[in-house]
Each structure stands twice: as structure tokens, then as C-alpha cells.
């Protein structure tokens, strides 16, 4: 297995910088302004919470941070790379190399078992099949699923699925992991377990975690908080 250290890129104390970013969506004839002139930085090597009520623009912010969407206006620099101008292919490469993604609905591939789901994101890496399998198994061990490698998503509980998703996000050793309401579909006990898992992984791997939530109970330090309301950052603060 290769080194488990996160892929480092950039030298600044922040992983991402938003500058005057706006984004709107059109639903039929209705135009919805999701983000308005947003500026701010996401600090490196800690957990950042994008907090706000439903419809506030958290997910849009996260989509832009995860380089799966482009702003209408403004600039975004992630790991010292201006991502707005990346081509579709270059953006895919960037995500593959530097960003891990955890989804609200787990989004595991249903026909693959746990270890295959984790291994899947390593397909485009220069690794042998055995190396891929070893590394995926190791990450599933880290998230406490060492005994369930061969289980398919349909055979796992919601919490177990999200653990697989966490392992999948981390196995590529990204610099940045973005999580879109990763506990929204979990019960409170499982929610706490997943949050604790992500915190422990963040501390162990020193990877920057950014996840959005509307649950204030999850917003506990250390880290930073970005509060978004009506598509604008109302305040940012360090959590200790």
C-alpha cells in the first residue's frame, strides 16, 4: 500500500478562496439566485461547516467547492488552482486527484460491494489491482467495516453505507473532502457516529473536511463555520 498521506497542493493556509462568486439556477422560467457575490476562504487542514437553513445556498456553495459546478460570476481558487476556467476533462482530473465527495444519499454503486465501491475511485490511478484492493480494504478497516467488505450497499445499514462513502472519499488521499449533509438520512445515534468518524479521520489524515449541514448540533469545534443565509455569507468564524 502506498503512503496514506493526503495529496498536498498549494502553500497557503487555506484550501479554497471564493471571490465575488454568484450562481443562479433556472427552473423553467423561474430564475433562482442561489449565491450572491460570495467571498471567503476555507482554512486548510481542519473541518469547516457550511451552515444555514434549507435553500440558503449551502449545497450550491459545496458544489462549487467540489468543482462539480461553475459560478456565473466571480473566481474560485482551490488548492491554488483557479477552477472556473478548467475544462470539463481537467475538472474531472482535478476532482479525481484532490477532492473526495460524500453525498447525503450515500450514492454508492449498487452493483458493487463495499470494497469494490471504495476501490472503484482508484481505477484511474496508476495502481495494480492488488494495490487498489489492499488500499480499499485498509480504508474500510479504518472506518470500522473490515468485516463487511463483501457486502453490497443493499445489505448495509444507512450508517454502514455512509462509512463506506467516507472510506471512498478518503481512499484517493485527497486534499479536500466535501460532504453534502452527510447525516441528513441517518438517525441521531448514527449521525453522531458518522460525525465522530469524520472528525477522527480528519485528525488522523489532516485532510480538509468541508460539510454542509442545517443541524446546529453538529457544528462543534475545532474548525471553522461559514454561515450562509439567502445565498450570502453572513458570517465566518473559527471554532475552538
Amino acid at each position: 500500500m502506498k503512503s496514506a498521506a493526503p495529496q498536498t497542493r498549494g502553500t497557503t493556509d487555506h484550501v479554497a478562496e471564493f471571490s465575488g462568486v454568484s450562481k443562479s439556477y433556472k427552473t423553467g422560467r423561474v430564475k433562482f439566485q442561489a449565491l450572491r457575490d460570495v467571498s471567503g476562504r476555507i482554512p486548510r487542514g481542519c473541518t469547516s461547516y457550511i451552515f444555514g437553513p434549507s435553500g440558503s445556498g449551502k449545497t450550491t456553495f459545496l458544489n462549487l467547492l467540489g468543482v462539480i459546478d461553475r459560478p456565473d460570476a466571480g473566481d474560485i481558487t482551490i488548492l491554488d488552482t483557479p477552477v472556473r476556467t478548467l475544462s470539463d476533462s481537467a475538472a474531472a482530473d482535478f476532482r479525481m486527484q484532490h477532492i473526495g465527495y460524500i453525498f447525503q444519499n450515500f450514492n454508492l454503486i449498487p452493483v458493487l460491494n463495499a470494497v469494490e465501491n471504495v476501490e472503484y475511485v482508484l481505477l484511474r490511478r496508476d495502481l495494480t489491482r492488488a494495490e487498489r484492493r489492499d488500499r480499499a480494504s485498509a480504508y474500510l478497516e479504518k472506518v470500522g467495516l473490515g468485516e463487511l467488505l463483501k457486502r453490497r450497499p443493499g445489505e448495509l445499514s444507512g450508517g454502514q453505507r455512509q462509512r463506506v462513502a467516507v472510506a471512498r472519499a478518503l481512499v484517493g488521499e485527497p486534499s479536500l473532502v466535501v460532504a453534502d449533509e452527510p447525516t441528513a438520512n441517518l438517525d441521531s445515534r448514527t449521525t453522531r457516529e458518522i460525525v465522530d468518524l469524520m472528525r477522527s479521520m480528519q485528525e488522523e489524515l489532516k485532510t480538509t473536511f468541508v460539510f454542509c449541514t442545517h443541524d446546529v448540533d453538529l457544528v462543534t469545534g475545532p474548525g471553522s463555520l461559514v454561515h450562509i443565509v439567502d445565498g450570502q455569507i453572513t458570517h465566518m468564524e473559527r471554532l475552538s
Binding site: 459546478d69 470539463d88 474531472a92 477532492i99 452493483v111 484511474r124
Partner: protein
């Protein structure tokens, strides 16, 4: 892993995949069965033509174009020299099954018993060679023709078409079923018939009216010198010919008797027929024969059977065209079935496509995944078609049905030669797989064009 995922995705919607595979399989089976039928036509028709006409025919140059108007001028003067020149090449000799001279002619046939006469088309053959040619069955079609009732040591024997027998009034004498002598047979002789009878009496005085119970026919033709000549033949049998015009006029007689009628003792013949042991060498052997004749200074035309008679090419082209049309129609069915299946697969997996792309996979990676699934679907469907085609054709063939193609008098065994035509099977498998893959390009392209964010929130 791409193939593993493809297989699992196909199994995920097992029933849908199965129905798609069956649609491809049944359509492909139809293509294979019809292709097997066309294959059978190709082999069967070629066999029946080669049994009658050989693979290669050698004429004096110009015979095909002008011989009908002036046959004497375009008759080869020394057929043994032609045969010797051909057989002097060891490579040709090894591959020759039969090489034989033939004479084609026209004239007037008279029935002295019925006092009737009629124009005839004559074909002079060496009986033993001609009957040997009729046993040629390289592709084991099981359609060896019965020998014609002519023998070398009875040069006066002949067979005629049933139509000829009817018109010249030999139905009763030959005991032919469903054949009646013409009602005018008893009518008073016309001036031509009278002239013909007078000529025969002068040329062939005292010839018996029949021999061994066989009725006599007198054949009048212009000899090589231009003078009319007459010989008698005794009709062994009447046989139905495929083409009505030929049936109404054919007299097949021995080569010796035909030569006596036209050329006396000169070693002349209209053509030399070559039948090969191995038909796959036709083109090569034809070339070698042309070279051998040229080397001997013999100015001959060397033609393959399908150059002399375009029937084979026309019949085969017709069936090939129908085959292509049927295949295209079935391909359209397959295309819509696959588009439907892949579209449903895509719509169910839009969210998955968004996920995979969010994880850093490119559009092409996703596209390739869909293509792999379609390829497998097409391949399994095509292999199903192959299995169905072979099983159904085997069962069909065991029934031993027969049919008579337009150019034949005798029926051929109706076979669906699927397993025997590997090119057809491989081509159909490839065609079905390709059509399936191509059909999925449109829905797969649509899937990868959906923006990631929209795909992730696709319900």
C-alpha cells in the same frame, strides 16, 4: 472492473436484459435462417449448374457473340488439341474431374411415323462424360442427378424434352404421362413435311422406323460445308427441361452422332467443358487454362459457368438482395429495442452517472461503461441467435424438404445451411453486436451530457 460492472448491471435488470437478448436472438435467428437458405441456394444452384455445364467452358473466340449467326465459323477445329493442351499442365490435370467436348446445334427434326417435323435445339454429349459430370457433389448437397439414358456404345441413342415429344407426336410411343400428341398429327402433310420426308428417303433409304422399341427421329442440319445433312437417332426417353422453350425443342444426342451430322469425321466441337474437382480453384484454374491454350497458339475464350450463363449470378443476386433487405428490417427492430433498453437503463442511472462523474470520472469513462454493457448485451444476444439458428436449422434440415428453383427442372433438397457457413454466422454475430453497440450511442451520449449537479439530484 468495467466488465464486471457491466455484467452486474445487466443482471440487475435481469428480466429486461433477458427480453432484449431474446429480441436480438430471435431477430438474429431469422437473419441466420434466411442466410442459411441463401447459402443453400448458392451451393445448390451452383451444384446443379456445374453438374450440367461444368465449371469452365472453352469456345473458339467470338462464339459467344457471333456463333449463333454463323456457328460453323466459330466452331473449334481440333478439340483434341484443346483437351491435350489443357491436360498437358499437371496442375490443371490434377484438378480436372471431367473434360469433354460438346456440340451445340440447331436444325429440323422429323418424326417419320407421325409425318411431323419441328425445329430443334441439339446438344451432342459424350454420354459417359456427361453422366460422370452429373454425379459431382463437392458440397455434399445430396443432389446427384440420375444418369441420362445415353451410352457411349449406342451412338444413335437420344433423349428429348417432353415438350418436344408432345409437339412431334411421340407421347404415346414413349408412354409419357400427362402428354398428348398434337391433334394435328393426323392431319394431311404440309409441303415442308413432305419435302422433309422425301429428303430422308433419299438420304437414309431403308432405315428402320424404330430400334429396340425406340421411336426414330430424323435430324436435318446444315453441315460444315453448308449442305444439308441428315442422321437418324432413336429416342431412349423424354425428360422435362427447366425452361419451357428448351423443353419444347431439346434433343440430346451422342457427341459422335452430332459430329457425324455436322462435321463428318472432322475433330470439331462447339465447346470443351471442364468440370473441376475443387470449385474453389475455379478462378486460378481458369487462368491457367487460358495461358496453356495461348501457349499452344489456340485462340479460345475460356469462360466460367456464370459468365456463360448469367442465371446463377442473377438468382443469387436476387436472394442476396432480399437477404440484405430482411437483415436491415430486422436491424431496425433491434435498434429500437436496444435504444429502448439502454434509455431505460440510463434514466434509472442518471444519479449514478452524476456520482461517478463527481468522483472524478470523465464523460468518456461513463460512456465507455454504457458501451461495454451494450456490447455484452449484443454479444450474448448474438450468441443466442447463433445457438437458435443452428438448432432450428438442424431440425428443419432433418425434415428433408425439397424445392425447385426457377432455373431447375429437378428439385433441390431445401436446406438451411447455417452451421456450414461460418462467414454467415460470424458476420451475423458481428453485425448484431455492432448494431447493438451503435444503438446505444445516442442514449449513452444523452446520459453523459447531463450536468453533474442535475444528475445528482435526478429523482
Amino acid at each position: 472492473m468495467i466488465w464486471s460492472i457491466a455484467i452486474r448491471n445487466l443482471l440487475r435488470n435481469g428480466r429486461r436484459s433477458l427480453m432484449t437478448i431474446l429480441a436480438i436472438g430471435v431477430s438474429g435467428m431469422a437473419i441466420l435462417l434466411f442466410g442459411g437458405f441463401v447459402t443453400s441456394i448458392w451451393y445448390g444452384l451452383q451444384t446443379s449448374i456445374v453438374q450440367e455445364q461444368g465449371h469452365i467452358q472453352i469456345f473458339k473466340r467470338g462464339y459467344q457473340d457471333y456463333g449463333a449467326a454463323d456457328p460453323d465459323a466459330y466452331t473449334m477445329d481440333d478439340y483434341p488439341a484443346v483437351i491435350d493442351a489443357i491436360l498437358s499442365v499437371p496442375a490443371i490435370r490434377e484438378d480436372v474431374a471431367v473434360i469433354t467436348p460438346q456440340i451445340q446445334m440447331g436444325g429440323i427434326a422429323g418424326n417419320p411415323e407421325g409425318n411431323s417435323s419441328k425445329a430443334f435445339i441439339g446438344k451432342g454429349v459424350v454420354p459417359s462424360d456427361y453422366n460422370a459430370m452429373r454425379t459431382w457433389d463437392y458440397w455434399a448437397q445430396g443432389t446427384q442427378l440420375a444418369p441420362v439414358p445415353l451410352v457411349d456404345d449406342d451412338p444413335e441413342g437420344a433423349i428429348i424434352g417432353v415438350g418436344m415429344a408432345r409437339m412431334i407426336g411421340l407421347c404415346d410411343e414413349l408412354n409419357l404421362a400427362q402428354c398428348q400428341d398434337p391433334p394435328t398429327a393426323d392431319a394431311p402433310d404440309g409441303p415442308i413435311d413432305e419435302d422433309f420426308s422425301d429428303l430422308v428417303s433419299a438420304e437414309l433409304p431403308g432405315t428402320a422406323q424404330e430400334k429396340d422399341g425406340r421411336p426414330r427421329l430424323d435430324l436435318l442440319a446444315a453441315s460444315s460445308g453448308g449442305a444439308p445433312n441428315i442422321v437418324s437417332v432413336f429416342v431412349n426417353a423424354a425428360q422435362t427441361q427447366a425452361i419451357r422453350a428448351v423443353d419444347n425443342a431439346l434433343i440430346m444426342l451422342t457427341f459422335d452422332q452430332a459430329r457425324r451430322l455436322l462435321y463428318g469425321n472432322e475433330p470439331r466441337a462447339t465447346l470443351v467443358v471442364v468440370q473441376l474437382k475443387d470449385p474453389t480453384t475455379l478462378s486460378e484454374t481458369k487462368g491457367m487454362i487460358a495461358e496453356a491454350l495461348e501457349a499452344e497458339g489456340l485462340d479460345m475464350e475460356v469462360l466460367a459457368f456464370n459468365e456463360v450463363d448469367p442465371t446463377f449470378n442473377r438468382v443469387f443476386a436476387m436472394f442476396s438482395f432480399i437477404f440484405v433487405v430482411v437483415s436491415l428490417v430486422l436491424a431496425v427492430v433491434i435498434v429500437f429495442t436496444i435504444i429502448n433498453t439502454v434509455t431505460m437503463n440510463v434514466m434509472e442511472r442518471v444519479n449514478e452517472v452524476g456520482t461517478v462523474r463527481a468522483l472524478g470520472f470523465k464523460r468518456f469513462d461513463v460512456f465507455r461503461q454504457f458501451m461495454a454493457e451494450s456490447f455484452l448485451l449484443g454479444l450474448v444476444g448474438a450468441l443466442t441467435a447463433m445457438a437458435l439458428g443452428i438448432v432450428v436449422s438442424t431440425q428443419f434440415n432433418s425434415a428433408g424438404m425439397q424445392w425447385t428453383p426457377p432455373s431447375n427442372a429437378a428439385p433441390l433438397t431445401l436446406e438451411l445451411m447455417v452451421a456450414e457457413n461460418l462467414l454467415l454466422v460470424a458476420g451475423t454475430v458481428g453485425f448484431l453486436t455492432l448494431v447493438t453497440v451503435l444503438s446505444s450511442i445516442l442514449p449513452a451520449t444523452k446520459a453523459i451530457r447531463i450536468p453533474i449537479v442535475r444528475a445528482l439530484h435526478y429523482a
